[in-house]
Symmetry: C3
């Protein structure tokens, strides 16, 4: 039978008054207890769904999506989350709209939000742009609400920006929590967030940044490893350093993949583009310098190609704690001999971890739903309690 | 608390037996009382939503959308309206369909309508085509229903055609009604529907036509102003003239923007293309004469450029009643120095009216929902009463 | 009043324990009783909808759609079916996803399915690919479910592949059943599935194959007619032959259209591409040989043009039983003088059968909904009974 009580009790022990009607843009803007509340609500929603309980917070309402870059996993996770809470996704496809007219962000944000409860945005292509765009949208709908234009102030959810990818890192974290049997078991666990070779170029920095910005908060010992020249945003490194100091964990850096893997409990090898190059690309786009962009792309691919040894092979895995570290990835991975000739990870390693990798991805719909629920319901305990007690089935199986 | 009684009483005082199962294609095909009923239902739905009452007319059903031109505002308004009544939008994207085969309108209209309760169409690109297409769809689904092909006869809603833009003009009108404190206060109010300069070409005529075709009905004194050569459809001018005669208002024309603004209570300055040029363009498209179309476009841009003084500046606004006329626009506006170098309106004017402009746009979802509800519910009073009395919450906040 | 009892009684007389949680990929993988159960549930759902009963099997859940080829009818039928059962369609648009990265089918299938109850796929372009792709998806989600990645195992529905088009042939069959007043009246009825001329090339084989693979099962005498060189897959012909032997019907072939029409009760004249040519095209695509593909296309069009006399004219119809055979088509048809200069059917024949053709298409949403319901509900009788007895209205008319 469905037993929601442990989740309610956990929530009762946490403090999160500022979550109601708030946005979720960066994990480091939230308190530890707020994050724990999200993990708890995510688990509670999964428990309810596993016990076939309907979980409609809304009888009607829209969840706007605005994907400025391709997406499969996050798009379906967002759609799933909206659907399980009773919202309908309405996609703001900028190609089919009148936005090309030179319409302001403020105007568009209000025009699509008259009946919107949530706005999810992916904007990860240009350094200094994505998160800034989300904040401009958030400010616009706040003004719209304050001015009486909007009847409700929609909640923003960051579906990946230039700085953070919180729905990914929170899903990753929930996977780690379940793998190690609870948040309380993470203290001292070693996590290696390392760069890995990929034949494609320009992968976003938001995943490594999101991971070091979040995983340093609960006492883990996080190492960021990458070849020279593949630095991430220094602001996020500062966040990681401060987090580690506060949580009793560690945050260290190295240019040696082996060093990071040595005795690690968790490894997260994944390609990304150098921050400095991404800044340069943003400038070139701003100037419309396509020749410059093409030249930069060739340089980056050549630079990548000097680091093909940054691959998560069986030899590398053997260096980890008991040879059995938890291998993680946000997917899709560049798998050597499968999706490319030479890539981020050996096929045998990927295959051995395929099921946990898919389970890792499976937390994302619940994480997003929990972010939505926490932002839209003042008393999440009461709402979860009603789902459990009403006995409304999700599916007449 | 939610008090639906005034709306019910208002509806009880109105006569609208022909609205049930009817289409909404042109405002001037509806009686004054029918339009008032729509305004009343729109206000009632907003009142219910503001009091967190669920408003599902439908447990399931589709609202087909068919956008043959770009749209943001109307697309999201239509989606919002469908969603608040319980319908799911299914977009007929003619690019993804088999319609290129040379399939007839009659066939497509029936094929998408087996479970459709509403069909919303935007088709505003070619003179003589858009409204005709809607009528062909309406006739097709009526036949389908009569022949036993369709179990229900879906209702058509005109989301902008070559003649009228009724969801826009009705939302505009509801904005005016609320601004002046009621329909009964509009008699004698001066409204200036004027052309304005834009650096883009070929903007539809449906907004100015929709405005003069509707606003002349309730005793207002409407002036249509534009440079010579920017005439609108003469049939709609005749409608406006007849409306004014019947409502005790006025309909006048001028080629002087200042004359129109003089002492106006409401100004609606907005660019559009000359009707004759749009007819010419339609012919050129029919012949596939792309060189002719490009030449026409250059001519029209040059013609527009001779009228850059048709801008809604502070000086122009100062001419209006007390310098405080209500400035209106269907959005997005071409704002001088913001979305273009020289445009329809000065930035300072637009900024001062930004909030009312957004509120004006905010009526559209409710107007569309009211059009849907009035066409699908034989007894709207009873339906609204049930929403109010059942106490089903839209949102478990 | 709504009377669901006859449908329940019919279902009680049938055996279908393997339908629950099963896929629907080929009609010949299902027993006769299973197919009859689907027809019965389709009729029951229509009866419920005609009596304004809500039919939500699901309070939330996704129906994934994956259209690898254009679609109007099937797309809207699938959307309608999902909507009437309470599911929300989420379209896997491979262009907007990250699948280009070289992601495996197994991974994508799991990533979109965390909250999916149904997956509908159209993949009809390449011989040997479409059905195989569906089976790979089915295997992938089965593994995902077995491994604990997915909480539910989504059901696959074949929305047209290279071999079969079961939602079409089942809708066609239900049309025939109603036309002749019951399945029991079909024994000995003559059906002519014939090729017909079309000016377009490369039409899928799945419709003729689906028809001969299904219609031979209930005692009908099915003739497949086409010019030499337009053979269909031999495996499906073997299925048809075996079916006819078992059902007491007949399956014959001819290269003469007239012979097939002679005394036929039902005619289904429709263009398709030769199987051998489609195999060749698949190979050419595999090699990226675009010149070869263009040459093949020209050959095929020239080959088609030699058979313009394969048209369903009034003269041909006069050969049928009493000159009044039921004319069928999956639509859209190539109508001579309407959608093309010379085509599959004379305009006067098409017009005379337009209403029954549209009704034929109208069964598809119910057939798909029945396939979904039978696969997701262990006890369909109980579910239908609840819809009838709960008295929840679909529409507050």
């Amino acid at each position: 039978m469905c037993n929601i009580t442990p989740y309610i009790q956990k929530l009762n022990s946490l403090t999160f008054p500022d979550m109601y009607l708030s946005d979720f843009l960066l994990t480091w803007e939230k308190t530890d207890q707020e994050l724990q509340a999200i993990f708890t609500v995510a688990d509670a929603l999964r428990h309810l769904r596993e016990h076939n309980a309907a979980t409609q917070v809304f009888q009607s309402g829209l969840a706007i999506s605005n994907f400025r870059d391709n997406s499969t996993r996050t798009r379906f996770s967002y759609t799933s989350a909206a659907n399980m809470l009773g919202l309908t996704v309405a996609d703001l496809d900028e190609g089919k709209s009148q936005i090309a007219h030179g319409e302001t962000v403020r105007e568009t944000a209000n025009m699509v939000s008259f009946m919107a409860d949530v706005i999810g945005i992916r904007d990860d292509m240009y350094i200094g742009k994505g998160n800034a765009y989300m904040r401009e949208v958030a400010k616009s709908v706040q003004e719209g609400y304050d001015e009486g234009v909007l009847e409700q102030r929609p909640t923003l959810v960051n579906l990946q920006c230039d700085i953070d990818h919180p729905t990914q890192s929170m899903a990753d974290m929930l996977h780690i929590i379940h793998h190690f049997g609870g948040l309380e078991n993470l203290k001292g666990k070693k996590l290696a967030m390392t760069w890995a070779y990929s034949p494609s170029y320009g992968k976003p920095l938001s995943v490594p940044q999101g991971v070091i910005g979040l995983m340093t908060r609960f006492g883990m010992e996080v190492t960021l490893a990458h070849p020279e020249g593949y630095e991430v945003m220094s602001e996020v490194e500062q966040v990681a350093t401060a987090n580690a100091a506060q949580s009793g964990g560690k945050f260290t850096k190295t240019n040696c993949m082996k060093e990071a893997f040595q005795n690690a409990d968790i490894v997260y090898p994944k390609s990304w583009a150098p921050f400095a190059a991404m800044e340069q690309r943003t400038d070139l786009y701003g100037k419309g310098d396509m020749a410059g962009i093409n030249a930069l792309e060739q340089d980056l691919l050549a630079q990548n190609a000097r680091h093909k040894d940054w691959e998560c092979t069986e030899e590398m895995m053997a260096l980890t704690k008991g040879g059995e570290a938890l291998y993680m990835h946000c997917l899709p991975a560049d798998i050597t001999g499968v999706s490319c000739k030479e890539g981020e990870v050996a096929a045998s390693v990927f295959d051995r971890y395929r099921v946990p990798l898919y389970q890792e991805a499976g937390y994302k719909p619940y994480i997003i739903a929990a972010m939505m629920l926490m932002a839209r319901c003042e008393n999440p305990q009461q709402v979860l309690e009603q789902f459990a007690s009403k006995g409304m089935q999700r599916w007449m199986r």
